[in-house]
Symmetry: D2
Subunit: 192 residues, 4 copies
């Protein structure tokens, strides 16, 4: 099997409330409720899971090297992004030229961990020794099983340096109740 | 103006929670939440509003005659059904032959209050002196701004006679937060 | 393995267009399109698949007996109904008393093939020798990945006898592009 | 009345296919189709309408001054953005500090035409003499009545200077078939 038990730890961040649990709402419907909608609470949990995953990749890199970090990153992409559905609308913070948009899983993986000759400018964003994350949400738009968020993300590295980005995410709740990122636009603040 | 103040009372049953109020969920998004999804509570309120409206039409008929009842019924159809969007999937309890499905507002109004030569078999279901309603929901399916319910409805007339029907409804929440019936299948219980 | 190759034939009716194929729409997006929406064409295909499945169960029953028919019926329920999500809003044509609504897979299977002591009045609707089906749709309501249909279904048995029912369906397209019945209200026409 | 006939021309760009017209799909449902879903074609039309509106504001500014441009911009915000629903997730290209996100209509208007003391850094993005627009879409994600697009937008001013931005939009189709921008993240390309 490809993933070791340890690398699967990365995945455990991405477990969300199942449909069954949601059904316990108190109403005249009792437990006979199927509800496919996404909630603000699920969205916040998914944001935190993204932050945890980024730090996990950085830690794996520091402790066990880039191969381990790559496996963790790939598990994160498989579980928390929507590449299983097709193109993901992903504009990472630091991409340039013809490779700004990473609509494929390969392109996203290259951005996070580098080492792919097809994406020569990628140095591995998730390998930069991230130790802490913080979110400051501006607003959320919830529409069926899809939620959009916009706000700031603050990432702190081992030296204490904080990177601030303007971040937009689109999360879609899949059939299993798992939230997947189908949209991700990250940009450095405008400096006049 | 077409509606008298009195007939507008019928309409007041159909006021639901606005988007603004929904937005007060406690989360990192504060009050910056737009949520277009329908909830089980809104669906129950819409079911009750349907029951109240049916009784209102019956009362208006008894007190003020069929013209008043017709105006109330039309207001109900305008506010609580989705004919403004196009065809409504409406199979009333007692329709027959080529006129089983009432996909137009005209056909629905004829069913509720009769008196339309194009629908000669309609005697006016809402004019039958209904005084009480009760719901026994079997289940609900919630998907975005649309909710489906299935269960029994019990209607009691002035003589105390109870009519039981198997009832399926589809409610869609519109841009103003108003729930509208886009699907309504009603049938008498199967008698072997 | 539980299903023989032959019983899997029943399943092949339920293969629908994948997201990938849908993506070929001609637009400025090229093939970079993810579209989770359901189409009228997919709904019609799912209706036909339901008709084919019913006839398949009847044929399996005639040729290989009730056990084979049961396995086929269970495969149909697993693939074409939404019991994997929770309660299905299913009101079959001929159910009575406390067992009108079949929100569980067990209840649905009992209705189609009988033989379950918990559902003593079920004689097996799908075992009645159905040979032909015909649909006459009244209208469709399409909302995201969910579509609602209403109309008549005509079923013909081996003696040429035609049974007409008023039928409402709700189809939800799942993550794999498979349409699943989440709502099914069937009733005999009202006879004054 | 507030808007002159001329300023209403700006609005005419934002007229989209109605539900009624959509219903003409060829199927067994005939014209009895209600379909609330958004299409790739509608999204492309809405993108073009945004480009036309930006140029219209610039032209109005040049010809009739900032007051006229403001009225046009306000009409665009009223018709083509979702501020009527509540917060819009809007991160304009050139905003800074505490005023990066413009979740209110007032903040959006200030960005486009300036002149609001509460937003002192806004010089009026739409007043910069834009004469031409071009889109290069990377991908689209369609989910019910909501569509997300990502790609580049190229804007050319009167001197021929081209500004390129990375652009993400979320469009929601409202009850009248009008597409409204509920998400708009615009950022200058990353320069290492």
């Amino acid at each position: 099997m490809f993933f070791s038990k340890r690398s699967l730890l990365a995945i455990s961040f991405f477990t969300f409330t199942s449909f069954a649990l949601q059904a316990k709402a108190q109403s005249s419907f009792g437990d006979q409720v199927v509800n496919t909608n996404i909630t603000a609470q699920e969205v916040e949990a998914a944001q935190k899971a993204w932050g945890e995953a980024l730090i996990k990749i950085s830690k794996d890199h520091k402790k066990d090297g880039v191969k381990k970090a790559s496996r963790t990153a790939e598990a994160v992409l498989d579980q928390a992004y929507g590449y299983n559905m097709g193109a993901v609308l992903f504009k990472p913070t630091l991409t340039t030229g013809d490779q700004v948009f990473r609509t494929t899983k390969e392109g996203a993986l290259a951005y996070f961990v580098g080492g792919n000759k097809k994406f020569p400018n990628d140095s591995g964003f998730a390998l930069k020794g991230w130790e802490k994350y913080e979110f400051k949400n501006a607003a959320v738009f919830i529409n069926g099983d899809l939620a959009l968020t916009m706000g700031n993300v603050f990432l702190t590295d081992g030296s204490g340096k904080v990177t601030k980005v303007d971040k937009t995410w689109g999360f879609k709740k899949d059939d299993k109740g798992q939230l997947r990122i189908v949209l991700h636009h990250s940009s450095l603040p405008y400096a006049p």
